[in-house]
């Protein structure tokens, strides 16, 4: 049982290492010395410990043992602390943070749309709209498998030899009834180390007040960083600390020592970590935050089972409870933001008409937003469970919101209904905006352009199309076609009126003569009106190439036959001076100039013979 040097009594060995008694004992550490010395000391402690249970001791001997054990425990406490300090370094973070990104774990749909760069932008700033549309979006994300951060990965925080030394010490301390001291030393050292790791991972200590004051860009970045850090903290850092506690303390004494030590170490840091997510879930709701909030929600959801795993003891309950509370608050916040968004679209107040009747920035913004929603449809679909509140806004004569009958859409999910509702609101808003155009015809063009854009966006995305459904898509198509028709009628009715038959014959029958003056007036009117239309509507814009062509052709289909037949019938009755345009001229003017958005120079127009 004994080593050769066991003839030295236990008490003496312990007293030799009393750091209050000798300089040497204070300066040197037992566990940094040779293995024999360590073993000798531990044996000595064991012996003294055993003799404590001995009831046949005299009062004097009792007193000595009482004193000696305290000296031994104080010493062991110092040794314990020293081993921990010299072998504890903050966790290695570079290799970890490189292997994860802030990409979400739930699959996003991968349809990628490049922004509409080929469309010309409005030169004029539309202030209120710019406020919404300058919000930055998260980029579309594609599914990335992050093998190293999807599950718990424990690391060895302390070399194995030190671990077993620590366990030896812990065993003696706990047996002697010094459990509390042991836990406290352990907790205080490890907590500092965890704190150091937190700093390396960039986990910040921000208050709710701080977060309320942050700009969105900065907050956006912090959330991304938190998501990355949280994965490492829970799956690596805390899991490893738990493992270390088990290695050192498991099954020592009766009091679940390993759980106690673990909680002592991580309770503060874990609470600090979650406080950030909590502060985000409480902060002001604005629509542009929605997708980052969803990212945060998803990461937390993904971490939940690991959180339950790592924090499975009774004392850790408050942490589990807090994380589920945060999750539900994030969900609530997301729902609120969607609602805010719908409200913002309805109330978006800019009245300055977009020049040329082209795509309004609001339309772009909303369609982009909707596309992102469809990317996040798995998450959002789970959170959005109630239909949009269309509300009875109609008080009095003027409606304050679109009318929509959801009974036609019973098969569709609440989220899909929200999308439809958003488009309906957008449309309603655009209708209102179109009324600010002085020219009716431009108003219709504007509606045509924008609703067509909406339709194209929906058709361009399979998910969107599925969610919104063909029924509503048909409705929208009808709307823009109707707008196109209305536009044509508004513009060309006057023009075509000049080419009508009635009123040109002096006696009212075909074979009679033609009133030359009336004919002259007609041609003059036609030229003037067509000129005006040509000049004005060249500045108007139909950004979509195919739509532009269709519109032009549709115009020509009515204009050309009418003009050709008019010319045919009446050109011989009047001098050529009054005939400004050939059929070709008209065709060119319409096909080349209309809706290009450029001014037409009068000199460049050729006059055909």
């Amino acid at each position: 049982m004994g080593s050769p040097a066991n003839d030295v009594p236990a008490e003496q060995i312990i007293l030799r290492w009393d750091s209050t008694a000798s300089e040497d004992a204070r300066v040197r550490m037992i566990f940094e010395g040779d293995r024999d010395e360590i073993d000798r000391y531990l044996h000595a402690v064991d012996q003294i410990q055993r003799s404590m249970d001995n009831t046949t001791l005299s009062e004097d001997e009792s007193k000595k043992v009482n004193n000696t054990i305290q000296i031994a425990m104080a010493r062991l406490e110092d040794e314990f602390r020293n081993i921990l300090i010299t072998n504890s370094t903050p966790i290695e973070t570079e290799s970890l943070t490189d292997s994860i990104s802030s990409n979400p774990l739930t699959p996003r749909t991968s349809s990628c749309h490049s922004p509409d760069n080929n469309e010309r932008n409005n030169k004029r700033d539309i202030e209120a709209v710019a406020r919404i549309s300058s919000a930055s979006f998260t980029e579309r994300k594609t599914y990335v498998s992050c093998r190293s951060m999807n599950s718990i990965r424990e690391q060895d925080l302390i070399p194995q030899e030190s671990v077993s030394d620590l366990r030896c010490i812990a065993k003696r301390m706990i047996t002697a009834g010094y459990f509390r001291e042991c836990v406290q030393v352990y907790g205080s050292v490890r907590k500092s180390v965890v704190d150091g790791s937190f700093k390396k991972l960039g986990v910040e200590k921000l208050s709710i007040g701080d977060i309320q004051r942050l700009e969105w860009d900065s907050l956006n970045a912090k959330i991304g960083r938190w998501i990355r850090a949280a994965k490492v903290c829970i799956r690596v850092l805390f899991a490893s600390e738990k493992k270390l506690c088990k290695q050192i303390f498991k099954d020592l004494g009766s009091a679940a020592a390993d759980d106690a030590c673990f909680m002592e170490t991580v309770k503060g840091p874990a609470t600090q970590l979650f406080n950030f997510a909590e502060a985000i879930s409480i902060s002001r709701r604005s629509p542009e935050k929605l997708f980052k909030i969803l990212d945060l929600h998803d990461s937390l959801l993904d971490l939940l089972s690991d959180i339950d795993n790592v924090f499975d003891s009774k004392p850790a309950e408050s942490i589990r409870v807090q994380s589920t509370e945060i999750l539900s608050r994030l969900a609530e916040a997301a729902r609120g933001m969607l609602s805010e968004f719908e409200n913002a679209v309805l109330r978006e107040p800019s009245r300055v008409p977009v020049p040329g009747g082209t795509i309004h920035p609001l339309t772009r913004y909303v369609m982009n937003y909707i596309s992102l929603i469809s990317d996040y449809k798995i998450t959002l679909g789970g959170l959005i469970v109630s239909n949009p509140s269309t509300g009875s806004r109609n008080s009095g004569d003027s409606p304050t919101g679109p009318e929509i009958d959801f009974s036609e859409h019973e098969e569709q999910s609440p989220l899909a209904l929200h999308l439809i509702w958003i488009i309906a609101i957008l449309q309603f808003n655009l209708e209102g905006k179109s009324k600010h155009y002085k020219d009716n015809s431009l108003a219709y063009l504007f509606i045509m352009n924008n609703v067509h854009y909406i339709v194209q966006k929906i058709k361009g995305s399979q998910e969107l199309r599925e969610m919104i459904g063909d029924h509503y898509l048909r409705t929208l198509t009808r709307i823009f076609r109707q707008a196109a028709t209305n536009h044509q009628r508004a513009t060309w009715i006057g023009v075509l009126h000049c080419l009508r038959d009635q009123g040109l014959h002096s006696t009212g029958s075909f074979s009679s003569g033609v009133s030359k003056s009336a004919l002259r007036e007609r041609f003059k009117s036609f030229n003037a009106i067509f000129d005006e239309v040509h000049r004005t509507q060249a500045l108007w814009l139909v950004p979509d190439e195919q739509l532009r062509e269709e519109l032009r052709i549709s115009i020509l289909e009515k204009l050309i036959p009418a003009y050709r037949s008019f010319l045919g019938r009446f050109r011989n009755h009047i001098s050529d001076n009054y005939i400004k345009y050939t059929v070709e001229d008209l065709e060119n003017a319409v096909l080349q100039d209309l809706f290009e958005g450029y001014a037409v120079s009068q000199h460049s127009r050729r006059r055909s013979q």
Binding site: N67, A74, R81, R180, S188, V189, G209, Q212, R351
Partner: protein, 386 residues
């Protein structure tokens, strides 16, 4: 309103009368609310004499007293929300002066949330102190007390006392009165293992004291004569909120509390403020006294632990085996008292922590609901601009 016919006038009178009744009911609700608050606070600070004597009143600023205080606050808050926010014509909220006063109140609630977080963290420190005290209790309850027990107790008590008296601002360990001179451990004692420096909930610049100051600086007593009758209740709720936060911060360790004593001023003109003012004066006094010696906070249990700790360390310094009977009895009494305090902390601190968390959740929810009401009003009253 000239009636067009008999029936019209009858209906008119009914509806006017009905509005009047509703209005009177609303005014009465508001007055009841204020009365309830005044009653509850008064009971808390001056408990009635004739309660059953088996239930002694809680010592002011003890854990049990704080639990009662938070209970009272939660009741007031619930009534406030029901009577003042939810039961009202919300159009009042967007007109002066409520259009300024309610957002100010909401701003205070944000600060209150941060303070709750800091307090929850502070309670962890209290639990840590309890554990240290428990070591001393266990050692000194041995019969007879041996040298080893005394040394052990003294070590724990010294750690406890140095943690209690250390400044909220991080001072080096040498500046306090009770430093240990334990050997090998001191080389890294101040850096690693200095628990107090790790107990910051927030960034270094955050200060509990400044938060309280900001909360109370724009809290001005209303002048009265205001038609909706809502201004005083809002002022009441804000005052109670600030008071409760201030009291908690004064008692429980919290990050950065310089100058806390002066940071609350309550107006004397309202009945419900009287109990709070009395306590505010007492806390202010005590805080000033204690501030010079380090800021452990005014929690009754902490004060008593500190006093007992000092006495027991004194005993330990003069210890020689065996202890004479008279001394032993004296020490036993002190240890028993310390044991009792530990028991109370054991029982009460966990519950208090949960209560503060409940308070946190409640404030979050009320904030959200109030913001919803305000949003809704803005939506309905802002015309669609076409």
């Amino acid at each position: 309103m000239p009636p067009t016919d008999n029936q019209g006038s009858f209906l008119n009178r009914i509806s006017i009368r009905r509005n009047q009744v509703v209005y009177e009911q609303e005014v009465e609700d508001l007055e009841q609310f204020q009365k309830h608050v005044a009653d509850r606070l008064s009971e808390l600070f001056h408990p009635p004499e004739d309660t059953n004597s088996s239930d002694p009143p809680e010592t002011l600023l003890s854990i049990a007293w704080f639990r009662k205080l938070l209970d009272v606050f939660l009741c007031c808050e619930a009534e406030f929300k029901a009577v003042v926010i939810m039961g009202r014509d919300a159009n009042n909220f967007v007109k002066s002066p409520l259009d300024r006063l309610i957002p100010e109140h909401l701003d205070r609630t944000v600060k209150a949330l941060d303070i709750c977080t800091a307090i929850i963290h502070g309670i962890d420190l209290l639990l840590h102190w309890k554990k240290l005290a428990q070591i001393a209790v266990d050692s000194l309850q041995k019969k007879p007390i041996g040298e080893g027990d005394v040394k052990r107790a003294k070590k724990a008590l010294n750690t406890l006392l140095s943690s209690i008296t250390i400044d909220d601002k991080e001072k080096s360990a040498e500046n306090h009165h009770h430093s240990t001179k334990s050997g090998a451990s001191s080389k890294d004692h101040t850096t690693i293992g200095n628990l107090r420096s790790l107990s910051y909930s927030f960034a270094r610049s955050w200060s509990a004291s400044k938060q309280i100051q900001a909360m109370s600086s724009n809290l001005t007593a209303p002048r009265g004569g205001e038609p909706t009758g809502l201004v005083v209740p809002v002022y009441l709720m804000s005052s109670v909120l600030v008071f409760v936060m201030w009291a908690m911060v004064s008692a429980i360790p919290c990050q950065e509390r310089t100058g806390l004593g002066a940071h609350l001023q309550l107006s004397k003109q309202f009945t419900w403020a009287q109990p709070m003012i009395g306590l505010q004066e007492k806390i202010g006094e005590d805080w000033k006294k204690k501030e010079k010696k380090g800021r452990s906070g005014l929690l009754d249990e902490t004060q008593r632990l500190e006093n007992l700790g000092l006495s027991l360390v004194e005993f330990a310094d003069g210890f020689s085996f065996p202890v004479e009977a008279e001394k032993a009895e004296e020490v036993a009494a002190m240890v028993a008292e310390m044991a009792e305090i530990c028991g109370r902390m054991d029982e009460g601190l966990g519950a208090l922590q949960m209560q503060v968390r409940e308070l946190f959740n409640r404030i979050v929810r009320s904030r959200a609901e109030t913001l919803d009401v305000l949003d809704h009003v803005n939506k309905v009253t802002t015309p669609v601009p076409y």
